[in-house]
């Protein structure tokens, strides 16, 4: 019981004294996962929308592949990103393994199928005649896609939440491609793993509380936007 109370106490001390190391780790987590989510939104929404709006042979297979990708295990992603970025790997020349950039790459790979899958479903769930209605109003194809994305904005907010939630809490890939280097690639999750393995439960718990608060805060903001949009 002491461990828990001590942990919570320690966590708040670290938080309120603005411990530079904790702040640094938190900031890096936010930055890395934020950028990864942003990139995955660009790719996921555009490709997801495109797939939803076009008919081609093998569409079902592509959709089931994307849906499978939504549950991609982070360690598997970590392994493949490591292999690609390895010194003599296909992308070794980029020399970004064990940097924050490598974590961004891995997290983007994790978040993209999540965003893509949700976007695809969101666009597909719009009424079938809505596309025709928009075209009949004189829209170009691009205008039509933009209006459809705007119509699907509420489920797309869910895509942002799911994508961000997926990568901020992920540890396997971050530790493999980032290396948990102090002050450089150490993020909240990797730090928590390390502190726990060292038996520093108080610090680990402090980091976990920050992680929870972060996830809660971001989702609260997005949920607020979503609820305000659709008054009932």
């Amino acid at each position: 019981m002491d461990i828990i109370i001590e942990g919570i106490k320690q966590a708040f001390i670290l938080l309120f004294t603005l411990d530079p190391e904790v702040i640094g780790i938190t900031w890096l987590s936010l930055k890395v996962s934020g950028i990864a989510t942003f990139i995955s939104l660009l790719i996921g929404i555009s490709v997801g929308t495109m797939i939803a709006l076009t008919q081609f042979p093998g569409k079902r297979i592509v959709i089931s592949l994307i849906n499978t990708g939504m549950g991609l295990p982070p360690v598997v992603v970590g392994l493949f990103v490591t292999i690609f970025l390895w010194r003599n790997g296909p992308l070794g020349f980029l020399d970004i393994l064990y940097t924050p950039t490598a974590i961004i790459v891995a997290q983007t790979v994790i978040a993209t199928p999540i965003v893509m899958g949700i976007s695809l479903a969101a666009i597909q769930h719009l009424p079938a005649n809505l596309r025709l209605q928009i075209l009949a109003l004189g829209a170009t194809r691009l205008q039509m896609v933009w209006i459809l994305v705007k119509e699907a904005r509420l489920p797309l907010l869910a895509a942002i939440m799911a994508g961000f939630g997926g990568v901020i809490s992920e540890v396997g890939a971050s530790i493999m491609v980032g290396g948990n280097i102090k002050g450089y690639t150490r993020v909240l999750t990797t730090a928590t793993v390390m502190e726990t393995s060292k038996g520093n439960f108080d610090i680990a718990m402090a980091l976990s509380i920050i992680l929870l608060l972060l996830a809660f805060f971001i989702n609260a903001v997005l949920t607020h936007v979503q609820q305000r949009e659709r008054p009932r």
């Binding site: 809505l130 025709l132 209605q133 075209l135 009949a136 109003l137 004189g138 509420l154 659709r230 008054p231």
Partner: protein, 371 residues
């Protein structure tokens, strides 16, 4: 088929869905400023035809000509689409305010803000939804939503408006009031209307021309009375119903009733209409009674006409009887009644129906254009 100038023509139109032909139209010409209604059962190809004519559906074969320009060759589909708009059975509103919905087509065209405001307000007014301008489109009743959809379609001031069963999901009173407004606006703006419906009353009310469709083909096209009274085949006859549809001019008005001259005979109907006005009278067969010329029955019916039996058509448990009273009239008799009256073709009978049994469609707005 008509000598008037066609705003839109279709030649040899063929459409396939999933490899199955759903539409096969050899020629169709749509006169400018008129309203054409396609009627037919579900699956007749009405919706497909509307989509094909608006180039929202890929043609398997054929051409569409708008104001003499062939769409898709020297005139792009996109340019063509900017002349028209479409209203579906579902209102398909965007998740924003009523104002922004009506503005959508104008925003797509990059119209300036003050112009958008002016036009949107005009059409909100015309459809009686000014008070809803700032309401979310998600919180509208069915009728309000369809009004918004119609206002959105008219706000871009299209040359042709396509209406695909626009009233089908509305309750009768809502439908009635919206139809009245639509009729006024169609006439006021002189917009060419192309509508699909399975309701012949809607078609009669709004259209200058009716086209009956079945299995992807146009079976008959013509003026409402022509199609209703002279169906070209059994299918059209059974689809347009066995109702008698007559056009006439109001000649006299009394309190609560008025007289209509149809083919030289006067018919009395209940309601209000002014002399000189064109009206359509619909009489259901079950409201027409026949007696033989000899029997002097006293009837309370206001409309009694001596007539001749033209045809007796067996229809299951009863017979459908076509009479000639100077105008065509259809009625039903049971097998027993037919035997009792020893009815045969060419026989003289007396037909009667009550003034209250007539369904009157006022075509006030059309009278100026003649029949």
């Amino acid at each position: 088929m008509n000598s008037e100038k066609s705003i839109l023509e279709a030649n040899n139109l063929q459409v396939k869905r999933g490899g199955v032909p759903v539409l096969n139209i050899s020629y169709l010409g749509i006169p400018e400023g008129k309203v054409l209604c396609f009627i037919g059962p579900n699956g007749a190809g009405k919706s497909s035809l509307l989509l094909a004519l608006s180039c929202l559906l890929k043609l398997f074969r054929g051409e569409i000509i708008f104001r003499g320009k062939r769409v898709g060759s020297n005139y792009t589909i996109f340019d063509y689409r900017r002349n028209l708009s479409m209203v579906f059975q579902e209102p398909l509103l965007f998740d924003t305010t009523v104002f922004e919905n009506v503005a959508a087509g104008l925003r797509i065209r990059g119209v300036k803000q003050d112009e958008v405001k002016r036009v949107v307000e005009e059409y909100l007014e015309r459809f009686g939804i000014c008070h809803l301008a700032n309401r979310s489109a998600r919180r509208l009743s069915g009728g309000e939503a369809q009004r918004t959809s119609l206002a959105r379609a008219f706000a871009i001031r299209p040359e042709i408006i396509f209406l695909d069963e626009p009233f089908s999901s509305l309750d009768p009173p809502t439908r009635e009031s919206l139809m009245g407004d639509l009729e006024l606006i169609l006439r006021a703006t002189k917009t060419t209307g192309i509508m699909a419906t399975h309701d012949q009353m809607e078609a009669l009310r709004l259209s200058d021309q009716i086209a009956v469709m079945n299995e992807g083909k146009i079976i008959q096209i013509g003026s409402p009375t022509e199609v209703m009274n002279h169906p070209v085949n059994e299918f059209v006859a059974s689809f347009v119903g066995t109702e008698t549809i007559l056009t006439g001019k109001v000649i006299k008005r009394d309190t609560g009733t008025f007289s209509v001259s149809v083919a030289g005979r006067d018919i009395e109907a209940v309601g209000d209409a002014s002399p000189g006005e064109s009206v359509i009278l619909c009489i259901r067969p079950e409201n027409v009674t026949i007696s033989t010329g000899s029997s002097k029955e006293i009837t309370s019916a206001r409309n009694v006409f001596s007539s001749v039996v033209k045809r007796i058509i067996p229809s299951g448990t009863f017979y459908k009887v076509e009479l000639d009273c100077g105008f065509p009239l259809v009625t039903y008799v049971t097998n027993n009644a037919r035997e009792d009256l020893s009815m045969h073709e060419g026989m003289d009978v007396t037909a009667s129906f009550k003034a209250t049994a007539i369904h009157v469609i006022r075509k006030k707005l059309l009278s100026s254009s003649g029949d």
